[in-house]
C-alpha cells in the first residue's frame, strides 16, 4: 500500500466515523422533535386541551403511522392506547 493510498483510506475512515456519529445525532434529534410534535397533536389524551383538535382530524391518518413508529421505538409491540389502534 502506498503512503498516499493509506492516507486516503485513513481519511475516509475518519470521515465516515465522523459522519456516522453526526447522522446518528441528527436522527436522534429528528426523532425527539417528532415525538414532541406527536405530543402536541395528542395533548388531549394527557388531559391538556388542544383547540385545533378538529383541524387535526385531516392529518390523523398520517399521524397514525408516526404513532406506530413511536410505540415500537418505546419497546411496546402493540399500541398502548385503546383509542389508537394502529396495529
Amino acid at each position: 500500500m502506498r503512503w498516499s493510498e493509506l492516507r486516503r483510506n485513513v481519511g475516509d475512515a475518519l470521515h465516515g466515523l465522523f459522519y456516522f456519529r453526526y447522522e446518528q445525532d441528527l436522527r436522534a434529534e429528528a426523532i425527539e422533535l417528532n415525538d414532541l410534535f406527536l405530543l402536541m397533536c395528542y395533548m388531549e389524551m394527557v388531559g391538556l386541551p388542544n383547540p385545533v383538535t378538529l383541524y387535526l382530524l385531516e392529518v390523523y391518518p398520517h399521524l397514525l403511522s408516526e404513532f406506530h413508529l413511536w410505540h415500537r421505538r418505546m419497546g411496546v409491540d402493540h399500541s398502548p392506547l385503546a383509542q389508537i389502534r394502529c396495529c
Binding site: E23, L26, L33, N34, C41, P49, T53, L57, P61
Partner: protein
C-alpha cells in the same frame, strides 16, 4: 329622540358587507339585528341573517322557521340558524370521505375510530361553528350584499372572534415543530432537500392557516366589516359593553355603532315614569360619555315586546326611518 342621528349612523352601517350584533344577554341583540336585516332587505339588498347563538331566537322574532341551512324567509331576506352539533358532524363526514380517498382501508378503519373519538371532545362544537362562519365570511363572490350575524352573549362571541388568532398560533406552532422534525430527519439521511415531496402534514396545516388568515383579514381592520354593540341604559350592560368594546378594539375589530335599546319613550307622565326617567338620564349620560367616539343609535321601547313583522317594522323605522 334624534331620529336624524340614528339614520346617519344606520346609513353608515348599511354600507358594510358584514355586520356582527353582540351584547349582554337579554338586551335585544336579535331584535336589533332582525330590524336592520329587515330594513336592508326592504331596500332591495340581498341579506343573510345568521344566528350563531346556540339558543336561537331569530325564528321566534320573525315567526317564521329558520333552519340550519340557508333559506329565504322573506323576499331578499335569507335566514340561517347555525347548529354547532350538525356542523361538527358534517365536518367530520367530510374529513372521513377525504381520508377514505387517500388511504388504505385498514388505515381508514383505524383513523375513523380516532376521528369519532376526537369529535366527541369538548370545544369541537365551537370550532365547527367557527368553521361554518369562516365559510360564510370568506365566500368570494358571496351571493349576499349584506351578512348580519346575530351572535351569542358577549363572552361567547368575543371568544369566537379571537379564534382565528388563537387557532393560527396553534397551527403555526404545530407546523413549525413538524417542519423542524422533517428537516432534521432529511439531514440525517443525507438528503439535501430540494426535490422531495412536501410533507403532507405540513401542507394540511398550511392550507388551514391560509384559510384562517383570509377570515382574519375580513374581520380585522376591514372597511366592509363592523361590530354593533347593543345595550340598554342600565349599570350591568354598560359595564359589559365597555369591556367588550375594549376587547374588540384590542383585537382590531371596528365598532360600527352602539345601539342604546329600550329607552323610555318621550311624553309620558306620572311619578313612576319620572323616577325611571331620572335614573335613565344618568345612565344615558354615562353611555354618551363612555362611547363618545362611536356612533350611537337610540331605540325607544314599544308598549309591548317585539316579535312578529309589524312590531319589527316599527323598530326598523326608528333605526332607518
Amino acid at each position: 329622540m334624534l331620529l336624524a342621528d340614528n339614520r346617519k349612523a344606520a346609513r353608515r352601517l348599511l354600507e358594510k358587507r358584514i355586520l356582527f350584533f353582540g351584547g349582554k344577554g337579554g338586551v335585544g341583540k336579535t331584535t336589533c339585528a332582525a330590524a336592520v336585516a329587515l330594513a336592508a332587505s326592504r331596500e332591495g339588498r340581498r341579506v343573510l341573517l345568521v344566528s350563531t347563538d346556540p339558543a336561537h331566537s331569530t325564528s321566534d322574532i320573525f315567526e317564521r322557521q329558520f333552519t340550519r341551512e340557508e333559506r329565504e324567509i322573506l323576499p331578499n331576506l335569507f335566514g340561517l340558524e347555525i347548529d354547532a352539533d350538525f356542523e361538527a358532524s358534517r365536518y367530520i363526514a367530510e374529513v372521513k370521505e377525504q381520508v377514505s380517498k387517500m388511504f388504505s382501508p385498514s388505515m381508514v378503519g383505524a383513523a375513523s375510530r380516532q376521528i369519532d373519538l376526537a369529535a366527541a371532545m369538548p370545544g369541537v362544537g365551537d370550532v365547527a361553528l367557527f368553521d361554518r362562519l369562516t365559510t360564510i365570511i370568506s365566500a368570494r363572490n358571496s351571493a349576499y350584499d349584506l351578512v348580519i350575524f346575530d351572535t351569542a352573549p358577549t363572552g361567547h362571541t368575543v371568544r369566537l372572534l379571537q379564534m382565528p388568532e388563537m387557532l393560527r398560533a396553534w397551527i403555526d406552532a404545530l407546523a413549525a415543530q413538524r417542519r423542524r422534525a422533517v428537516e432534521r430527519d432529511a439531514d440525517s439521511r443525507g438528503d439535501d432537500g430540494g426535490e422531495d415531496q412536501p410533507d403532507p402534514i405540513v401542507s394540511a396545516l398550511e392550507r388551514r392557516r391560509q384559510r384562517l388568515d383570509e377570515v382574519r383579514a375580513r374581520l380585522v381592520e376591514h372597511r366592509d366589516t363592523s361590530f354593533v354593540l347593543v345595550l340598554i341604559p342600565e349599570r350591568l350592560p354598560i359595564e359589559e359593553t365597555s369591556r367588550a368594546a375594549g376587547t374588540l378594539a384590542e383585537a382590531g375589530i371596528e365598532i360600527g355603532a352602539i345601539v342604546v335599546n329600550r329607552v323610555l319613550p318621550d311624553g309620558l307622565s306620572g311619578e313612576f315614569y319620572a323616577a325611571r326617567r331620572r335614573q335613565e338620564d344618568i345612565y344615558r349620560r354615562e353611555i354618551d360619555h363612555r362611547f363618545k367616539t362611536m356612533d350611537r343609535i337610540v331605540i325607544a321601547q314599544l308598549e309591548s315586546d317585539v316579535y312578529g313583522l309589524n312590531r319589527l317594522e316599527r323598530i326598523s323605522a326608528q333605526i332607518i326611518g
